[in-house]
Each structure stands twice: as C-alpha cells, then as structure tokens.
C-alpha cells in the first residue's frame, strides 16, 4: 500500500509539472502584455516597460519558465502581478471558500444520491426507478447557474428563507455559514445528484447481478440485508471514483455558481487571473486545483482499496 501511495505521489508530481507547463504555455499565448494589462491602455509605454522589467515579464520565455518551475518546486509564487500582494495570501481565502462549498455540496448530495441510486436499482424498470432516473437526468441537464438563479430568486428573494449571497461577513458562526452557503451548495447538488445517482444505480445493478449477491440471497437474507452488507460496498467503488473526479471540478469549475451567489472561490480567481495574465496567481491557483484533483482521486483509490481488498492487489502491482 505504502509503495503504491508513494508511486502515485511521484506520478502526481509529474502531472503537476505538466499542468504548470500547460498553464505557462496557455498564459503566454494570451496576447496582452502584462504591464499593459495592469496599467491599462492609458499608461505611457515607458511606465509599462518599467513594470514589465520589474515583473520580469520581458525576460526570455525560457527564463520565465524557469522561474515558474522554481516556484512550483519551492511552492513560493511570490507576489501577484496585479495586486502586488503575496499569492498565497490572495489564494488562501478563495481556496478555503471553495473547499467549504465543495464539501458542503458533497455532503448534501452524496448520501441522497447514493440512496436514490440504490433504491432505483432495486426497483429497476418500475415507476419509481424511472422517476428517479428521469429526475436525475433532468436535474443534471439544467446548467447550475440557471438552477442557482432560480433558487436565489425563489428561496432568497421571494420567500427570504436563505441569504441570496453566499459571501458571509467575517466572524459568522458556522451554523449561519451553513445558511449562507445553502443555496449555492443546493444548486451544485442538484446538478450532481443526477450524475451520482445514475452512476450508483448502474453499479448497484451490476452488484445485484453478481454471483455473490445470488449467494447472499440464497442464504435467505432479506433484501435490505443483502443491499446493506453485500451490494453497497461493492457498488460504492465506481461511484466513489466518479465523485473524486468531480471534486476537482467542484473546486475549480463552479464559476457559474460563484458568479450567481457572488462567492469568491477559486473559479473566479482563476478567471480573473487568466484575464489579467497574472501568471503567479494563475499558476498557483491551477496548481492548487490540480493538487486537489489528484489528492481526491488518490484518496478515492485508497478508499476503494479499503472497501474492496481485490483492488488492493491491483494497487500493489
């Protein structure tokens, strides 16, 4: 197990390096010149040049790349070009916020989706199954920013049950933070519900058709016992890996929800950094998202291995 994790971590480092390189290339394809972007169209060229020299953005590509790689290794991205503040200082807030929201959304979605998926599999092809499948499909077919807007208008403005903005003032208690984050978490939840439920349904069906389930049924176990002790563990595997891939997206890709609820998470940070060509900020945020993605997939594989010892064998090799 340990060698496996080490190997995975080493591979993850390689991936991170690739990721950082891709981002670097991406940022350099962007046409604007950094100094100009920061100082604006009105600043005189000399000021722009001076800023570029100061930031090192006029160095040869290779030198800039070298700096980025050094930053990746030392994990020190220095100051953001645009706001001249330490990158980690800027990122810590959004990272923490994204983490909270992603976790909240997961906690809200996974149990219900898993239960619904299992229920649908049990009632396969019956009305309740069809209803769940269709509801899941529908819920995951409406983009989350639409869902979010609808939820904000209905539950925030019309009924006033929840705050319409996710951004809570500092010092807000955890319980009321949950209230603030409820609507954005719910709108993400609605999208992922269908996804996870369908996955769970498929893997539950597979588990229900497996020989070991037949053995269990033949023992005379009741259906719920069979589901709990035999099917659940086996069906969770594929679902967990799907969820783990989603975690990465939840961190960096939910900019729609962030926009609708004015929640300053990693998604917006990436967008702004990319637009401003703020390379240190962009690199750092993408690397963070990459780390989150890789950790969550690693964690998922470990959980799967824990659930299913057979998978451990594969890990070992």
């Amino acid at each position: 197990m340990l060698p496996y994790i080490l190997r995975r971590l080493v591979l993850a480092l390689v991936t991170l390096w690739l990721l950082a390189t891709i981002v670097f290339l991406v940022a350099n394809v962007l046409p604007n010149d950094v100094g100009r972007t920061i100082l604006g169209p009105f600043a005189p060229q000399e000021t722009v040049d001076a800023l570029n020299a100061e930031l090192g953005t006029d160095d040869p590509m290779l030198a800039q790349y070298g700096r980025q790689m050094k930053a990746l290794v030392t994990f020190d991205y220095g100051d953001s070009y645009q706001s001249k503040r330490p990158v980690w200082g800027i990122l810590s807030g959004p990272l923490w916020r994204s983490a909270k929201l992603a976790f909240y959304a997961l906690v809200m979605t996974v149990p219900i989706a898993v239960a619904a998926g299992m229920f649908a599999a049990r009632k396969r092809d019956r009305l309740s199954d069809r209803t769940i499948v269709l509801a899941g499909l529908a819920s995951s077919s409406i983009p989350e920013f639409v869902t979010g807007s609808i939820l904000a208008v209905v539950f925030g403005v019309a009924f006033g049950w929840f705050p319409v903005l996710a951004s809570f003032p500092p010092g807000t208690s955890v319980v009321s933070q949950l209230r603030f984050l409820f609507l954005p978490a719910l709108s993400m939840s609605v999208v992922y519900f269908g996804y996870i439920a369908r996955m769970m349904r498929a893997s539950t069906i597979r588990a229900l058709e497996a020989d070991y389930t037949r053995t269990a049924v033949m023992k005379g176990l009741s259906q719920s016992q069979v589901m709990r002790t035999h099917v659940l563990r086996n069906a969770m595997g594929p679902t967990i890996s799907v969820i783990s891939v989603q975690v990465g997206y939840l961190f960096g890709g939910i900019i729609g929800v962030e926009k609708v609820f004015n929640y300053n998470g990693l998604g917006q940070t990436v967008l702004i950094a990319a637009k401003a060509k703020d390379l240190p900020l962009l690199q750092a945020s993408v690397v963070i998202i990459g780390i989150v993605y890789m950790l969550s997939t690693l964690l998922a594989d470990i959980v799967i291995a824990w659930l299913n010892p057979r998978a451990r064998l594969e890990l070992g090799s």
Binding site: L19, L30, F145, V146, S149, G256, A274
Partner: protein
Amino acid sequence: MDEELVSTPGSDQVVDLSRSGPVTMQMTVLQQAAVERKQARRERWQLLRRRPGFLIGAGISLFWVVCAVLYDRITPFDPFDDLSTPLARPGGEHWFGTDQIGRDVLSRVMAGSRDVLVIAPISAVISVVTGTLLGLVMGYYRGLVDDVLSRIVEAFLALPVVLVGLLALVTFGSSEPENGFLRWTLKILTLGASEPVVVIVVAVLFTPIVARTVRAAVMAERDLDYVTSARLRGETNLFIMTREILPNIVGPIVVELTVRIGYAIFTVATLSFLGVGVQPPSPDWGLIISDHYSLMNGGIWWPTLFPALAIASLVIAVNLIADSIQAVNDR
C-alpha cells in the same frame, strides 16, 4: 458496455454443423440463421419503438432537428430582426415573450437549436476521435507510453474548464483567426461550423475523458487471443490497433459519443454563460440565458427559463435515446 460486444445468449447463434450433417440441412440451417438475424434486428427495433423513453427522446430530438433545419421557415417571427416591445410577457402574440431587445423568445429558442445541433455533435465527434486515438495508444502500448500520456491526460482533466475556454477564445479570437492556415485547419476540423473555437474548446475538454474510457476498453481487448494471433502472423502494431482492436470497441465508443453529445450541449451553454462561448447575435441557448438570467429577480423569467428548458429537453432526449438503445441491446 461489454454486453454489446457479446451476442445475447440464445439469440444470434447459428447452428453448428458437423461433418456428417447432410448438405441440404446445412443450407436450411444457414438460411434460418440469416432469417433469425434479420428477425432479431426487427424485434430489437420493435422493442425500441415500444419503449416510451425512446419515443419521447426521439420525438424531442426530431423536433429540434426540424427546428434547426427549417427554422427560417417555421418560426413565428424572425429570430434576429423582428423587434417589438422588449421583455413582453409570454402570451398573446409572443408565446414565450420577448427578450430585452424585443425579439421573440420562442423564435430564438427554435433557431438556437441550429448552433447547438451543429456544435455539440461535431465537438463530441472530434473529442471521440482524438480521445479514441489517444486511448488506443495508451491502452495498447501500456508501459512508458501509457504512463506519459496518462500524465498528460490527467493534467488536462485537472485543468479548470474556464481556463481552457478563455485560452481558446483569446488565442483564436472570437471570430475566425486571421492566419489563413489556422483558419482553414479550424474550418476543416469543425466542418465549417459557425463557432469553430467553441467546438475546439469542447473537444479539448472531452478528449481526455474519452481517452480514459477507450483506454480501459483497449486494455480489456489487447490481451485477448485474437490480438496474439494477429501478432503471430506478423501484423504491425498500427494494424492491430486500428483494424483489429478498434472495430471491437466501437460499442463503448458509440455509447461515449452519445453521452458526450449530451454533455457538449451543456458545456456550450456554460461557456456562453461565462462569456467565452458562442457570440451574439446567435440565438444560442446558453447565450440567451447568460444575457437574461440576471433579470429573473425582477420577475422576468421567460427569456431564461425557456432556453434552459430547451437545453434540458435536448440533453434528456439524447440520454433517453442512448439509454434505450443500451437497454434494448442488453436484453
């Protein structure tokens, strides 16, 4: 997925003939086999036709296809040029109301299917093609090649969606690239779609996902004996990958394609919402939503809700069809 590759028990099997079997019997048995095959296909089709899911899905898709093809003849108003009172409520002349500059929402939603129905399938096809190539190579060679490509694929998977969208948009600009070579490459790649950049972005986003699926399928195939047999008669790796293995993983690839079309519709909408997708005055659904969603709090829900429902309906329809086909094949 694999189920599709294996014939259904007791259905498609043709009768065995031993050497001592009379010749006449052989013929009848074979004819019977051919008839049975045809019959199986017909039965499958009939079964499909009886599935409500398939009917609904096909009906919705057909509606949108008709809209996409004939929109300039069947929309109640001109989706681009007919201006009337902005933000008129649904009802009366404008069943779905009007948008903020007074165009008929119904007409725009109908016309919007054209972009979606071009962009989504094309980008899905491109991603499936490139993803399949990648997946083939990764799954077939394994080892170092797989390790290296897997890293790249994973790196792309970890890349935030917006970043890819933004990159492409800024690189190529919203309209066509100036560079003639680039322009033509894009044009050819995207079959001349009106929004080549969006097509490419979606394709890039989906390629690693497809590659992973295909890789898994190839891994399952490459250890089968027919591959060994091909190697024994001295086939090249390229031949084995493309001619031997590829036809056998068409099943999962087709499923992946339908799934990707569904997600492409969704992703195009999201990109438009983020301002890195389809350009105005296209009646693209995501764009209509993105232009109007902020009006919802003022009670102006129609220009947001109707295109959203359109997206949902098409995504659901595509998925219903895919599900039904899979279910029927599984029987």
